[in-house]
């Protein structure tokens, strides 16, 4: 049993042939060139699907289904991409257009949801019925898996974990609210917090790590300086962990998943991030009598896009 997974991004379209254990057999990519009309982009998706099938020495008749992971809000039932600022797509009939090229089932879902599904089928949350996937990047994205299925709310717009208010009247967010989780606990927020600390503390080793240039500060900088025993960096990381723990424990108290998987660039910090995060989470538990939610790093990285999209077909 083989499936095609397509990871549609603003920069590139990736596609792969995936087996029913979530292994990528063959993969390839082309540039999205998103300024073009959607019909041209979707034709490129179709060509890429055919290419990876051919590269895998298979025929399209060997493929059970095609799954597409897309940014924005796709309607899973109709296959229409309702809106994606990233692609500049609004009400694009993605499934119908792709279906012109193929006579097999096509499924579409949001790309963070497909990444969550990938981790759940063959990654860090494999074997757990209820899991939550959180990406710490420019913002905070979320994917909720309930009973081994993607849950995204009645109009496909749920699991916006980044837009949970943790500080009333806090920093303004692009969503229109104030004090959203992602304004404090995304990778971007950590970079801002690190820069601010470097600015206020010229002698901090943050400035050494950054070679004196604030533009060199990224989400790893504070962790690196912390390992150099820099007190300022230590405080930055500690405060950042508090923000992250507040949001994560809100999710735990609401959904109580068996496991939370941390992805995105910061997920790569692994135990440097997770050990203090688990401690901060433990302090926020409302009862110690019950088995706790595990907190782990994502393991599939960039592969999650193709694998999760392919799994959409397997799950149906």
């Amino acid at each position: 049993m083989y499936y095609i997974g397509v990871d549609l991004g603003g920069m590139s379209i990736k596609a792969g042939v995936v087996d029913d254990r979530g292994n990528i057999i063959v993969e390839d990519r082309v540039k999205t060139q998103r300024e073009r009309h959607y019909s041209l982009i979707i034709k490129d998706m179709a060509d890429l699907c055919n290419k990876v099938v051919s590269d895998a020495n298979l025929k399209i008749s060997d493929i059970e289904a095609i799954g597409v992971g897309s940014p924005g809000i796709p309607n899973k039932e109709t296959g229409v991409l309702l809106s994606s600022n990233n692609l500049g797509f609004y009400n694009v009939p993605l499934k119908a257009e792709l279906q012109k090229y193929f006579d097999i089932p096509i499924y579409i879902d949001n790309d963070t949801n497909t990444a969550a599904l990938a981790e759940s089928v063959s990654g860090a949350s494999k074997g757990y019925e209820h899991s939550v996937f959180i990406t710490l990047g420019t913002g905070i994205g979320g994917g909720i898996i309930i009973n081994n299925q993607i849950y995204s709310g009645f109009n496909y717009a749920g699991s916006e974990l980044g837009h949970m208010c943790i500080i009333q009247d806090g920093i303004s967010c692009s969503c229109g609210r104030k004090g959203c989780f992602e304004r404090y606990a995304s990778a971007s927020a950590l970079i801002e917090q690190t820069k601010e600390a470097a600015r206020l503390n010229p002698n901090s080793k943050i400035n050494i790590v950054a070679e004196g240039d604030f533009d060199n500060i990224d989400a790893k900088t504070a962790f690196i300086a912390q390992r150099m025993n820099d007190e300022v960096a230590d405080k930055v990381v500690e405060k950042y962990i508090e923000y992250l723990a507040d949001g994560i424990m809100n999710i735990v108290n609401i959904l109580f998943p068996e496991i939370i998987v941390i992805g995105g660039g910061l997920g790569n910090e692994g135990e440097n991030l997770l050990v203090p995060l688990r401690e901060a989470a433990k302090k926020r538990e409302y009862t110690s009598d019950i088995e706790r939610t595990k907190i782990v790093s994502a393991v599939l990285g960039n592969k999650a896009g193709i694998v999760g999209a392919a799994m959409l077909g397997m799950k149906e």
Copy 2:
């Protein structure tokens, strides 16, 4: 098809015979007398079940199942009530003990979950697949319905909507965290906010409504004084609505249920509460392109306990 629903509370045990449309045919109650050994309390539950069946001119063989809604954290699989501070029950084999008296299936769930189920089967959220039930009382309780089923997380301890931090480092909560939703938006919180405003503003009509005695201030007081055009009360209600909207929109952005049902004493304020709440919620929407979550009042009131418990049997 008939079911028995048992609403086990700290003060009273209520039981009723319920038909498969969620109508209560007969109901009755006895005092819990919770200081007794659990085996005596559960024997009273059994006697009450037999009484309501007899009062309905039915035999126990006409009953499909017995459902029990209990405070605390019951393990649905084993039927053990893991902990209930309210009843003083810890690791009580509730189902096994009750099963001694009956040869039909017995189910157990948390009482806020059963109330959520009741509203979903025959109340305010009837006809909606995904709903969230929120009680505004001493604390804030929650029940999550996904795909017409109660969702309570992997260890039955989820949907603790009241223990979501909305104000980092805010007021200390009994759960050990700070800034929890229920410390700002429960009925008790509103009473405290109303008392504080009355204290600071002796000329406020809140003091007239309360007849000069702070002990008379309840969750309705600020709403009554607001309708008397009292500016202080207006501000109390406005701020309270802001807290409530912050928590509710967090739930919306995470779960995006079709409908949120507000229960508990404050749910009775109806449109007085809901009209400004919907406005405050609308201001916090992250996109206006999609259909929104409805916010309504619960309709079953005290009946929800018996009906929802009975529905546990119907849902299995």
